[in-house]
């Protein structure tokens, strides 16, 4: 099977295995280059520590309870934020889709609030309510609600008219229509919204922690900077990146079982 696929592939693309091998080579090469640059003093240790030092700092970090507490604080607030966003965005999108009056009345409000950077509200929210988890949650929800809402409204608009007509012909009930037509059509858009929202949520969580000093990855970053421990700052950068990867990986993992019928997924399985 795979032989056939290789033959049919257009010139200029690589096999999956070749891609993985090259990726590994690139990664290892980069780390080696970095190590050599550090050891030979090409870059100052105080600015960019060697990979081995960063690995050491990471090793020291992961053995502390503080570190895991901070990771948990950031992860949990981001996940809760996503749940709250869904709880707000789903009914809101349905209302906007169902009623032209709601759609036009909220149009300017949403178009105005959407591009406001969530982090801009940090100082005001702090002033009004102080540094609490509730404020952190509010900032996350306010800052990353919009991509989800926009995607949901798009999704509802894209429900094929033919499917709706068919539902009418077959006299589908309300729940049947939701279950068989609305949810399958909107799911791909929801996952796109989730992917963008979670990225922004993580950014806002870390910035809030960094500025306010609330427990989380952000405050660890601020602490590393304050104490001038550069290898620890690099280790935390690595952790943040892996955390981001884990979140986007989780969304990607959701699309497998949720969208198994969708053309994009079927293609992937056959590839």
């Amino acid at each position: 099977m795979s032989q056939v696929v290789v033959n049919r592939r257009a010139s200029g693309t690589l096999s999956r295995q070749a891609e993985l091998t090259l990726g590994a080579v690139g990664l290892i090469g980069l780390v080696l280059l970095w190590q050599v640059a550090s050891v030979t003093g090409l870059v100052s240790e105080r600015v960019v520590p060697a990979p081995t030092d960063v690995a050491g700092a990471l090793g020291r970090l992961v053995t502390t309870g503080d570190f895991w507490g901070a990771v948990w604080a950031t992860v949990s607030i981001t996940v809760i934020g996503m749940v709250v966003i869904l709880l707000i965005a789903v009914p809101a999108a349905m209302a906007i889709h169902a009623s032209r009056i709601v759609e036009h009345s909220t149009w300017f409000l949403i178009e105005f609030l959407k591009p406001i950077p969530g982090v801009a509200l940090i100082p005001l929210a702090l002033l009004l309510w102080g540094p609490t988890d509730g404020v952190k949650l509010f900032l996350i929800v306010f800052g990353s609600l919009w991509p989800m809402l926009t995607q949901l409204v798009y999704g509802l608009r894209e429900i094929p008219g033919l499917a709706l007509e068919m539902a009418r012909v077959y006299r589908f009930g309300f729940w049947q229509r939701i279950h068989r037509i609305t949810i399958p059509s909107v799911l791909p858009f929801t996952l796109t919204g989730l992917r963008i929202s979670v990225t922004i949520a993580l950014i806002i969580a870390i910035v809030t922690e960094y500025i306010v000093g609330m427990s989380g990855l952000g405050s660890l970053l601020a602490l590393a900077q304050l104490n001038g421990v550069v290898d620890q700052a690099f280790a935390l950068l690595l952790v943040s990146g892996l955390l981001g990867l884990a979140f986007s990986g989780a969304v990607a993992a959701l699309s497998g079982p949720l969208l198994f019928w969708h053309p994009s997924q079927r293609e992937r399985r056959n590839a």
Binding site: A233, L236, L237
Partner: protein, 264 residues
């Protein structure tokens, strides 16, 4: 049932305007003469905004540098991201070599770079611009790569039979075809760049709008904090509006083609 009649003219304007106008009027009247420490009257907020930012010197000392840093940072991301994206999109080997690194940086929440960028560059415009570029370049890069890769095979073969030069291929075939996807990348990056200019000024600047807001809060200047927040909102809105205008202009032929062929 499905065919909604579209609203036009003053009825549409009225329907779109009533809620925002009501909210502002409510805010104005309810906060008028307010003694509450944290909720100053809207009138006072707007007067301070005009006095400090329009009549005062702040627009020159804080607003313009912020906008300049933003423009440079976003501009560099756009140019560098598109150029590298075309390069990587056209070369499968180079792309595969850098794939793990790209995936990592795309997922990295960019504020995690703050301590390192601050450590290397210190407080100032260089730090602000670098943080924007380091955070905003990835969506552009990845979308450009995807856009370039998706140029269809028939077109590639045509290009080969016409023996176009590499430069002709890029300007006449690849960029126009990948355009919509590249712009989708710009749009995500714009959002990140706006977040990052605010963040970078909060943590690594001695002037600028972001610095002003955070400093006002730390000094407990409530009205100024409100002013800064509202101003950041307005600027975020305007920057997005300008971007969408440019996008519509650049991709005009694409939109027309869609309308003409009815393809989605």
């Amino acid at each position: 049932m499905t065919a909604k009649t579209t609203l036009r003219g003053w009825r549409l304007v009225l329907l779109r305007a009533w809620l925002p106008v009501t909210l502002v009027v409510l805010w104005w009247t309810l906060s008028a003469g307010s003694e509450a420490l944290y909720f100053p009257p809207l009138q006072e907020i707007l007067t301070t905004l005009v006095d400090e930012w329009i009549l005062g010197p702040r627009w020159r000392d804080d607003l313009l540098p912020s906008l300049a840093n933003f423009t440079i940072g976003f501009g560099v991301s756009v140019l560098l991201g598109t150029a590298l994206g075309v390069l990587l999109g056209m070369s499968p080997v180079v792309r595969a070599l850098f794939a793990p690194v790209l995936t990592f940086f795309r997922s990295l929440p960019s504020p995690a770079l703050i301590p390192i960028v601050l450590g290397i560059l210190g407080i100032g415009a260089g730090m602000n611009i670098s943080l924007i570029v380091l955070g905003a370049i990835w969506p552009i890069l990845l979308n450009t790569i995807d856009g370039v890769r998706s140029v269809d095979t028939q077109l590639r073969e045509m290009v080969r039979s016409y023996r176009l030069t590499r430069r002709q291929v890029i300007t006449y075939v690849i960029l126009p075809n990948a355009g919509p996807q590249i712009f989708a990348g710009y749009r995500i990056s714009l959002q990140i760049a706006i977040i990052l200019i605010v963040v970078s000024e909060m943590v690594g600047a001695t002037h600028g709008l972001g610095y002003y807001v955070l400093e006002s809060q730390q000094l407990f200047m409530v009205t100024q904090t409100w002013v800064g927040t509202i101003l950041l909102g307005i600027i975020g809105y305007l920057l997005t509006l300008i971007f969408l205008r440019i996008e519509r202009r650049v991709l005009r032929w694409q939109i027309r083609m869609r309308q003409a062929t009815g393809a989605s």
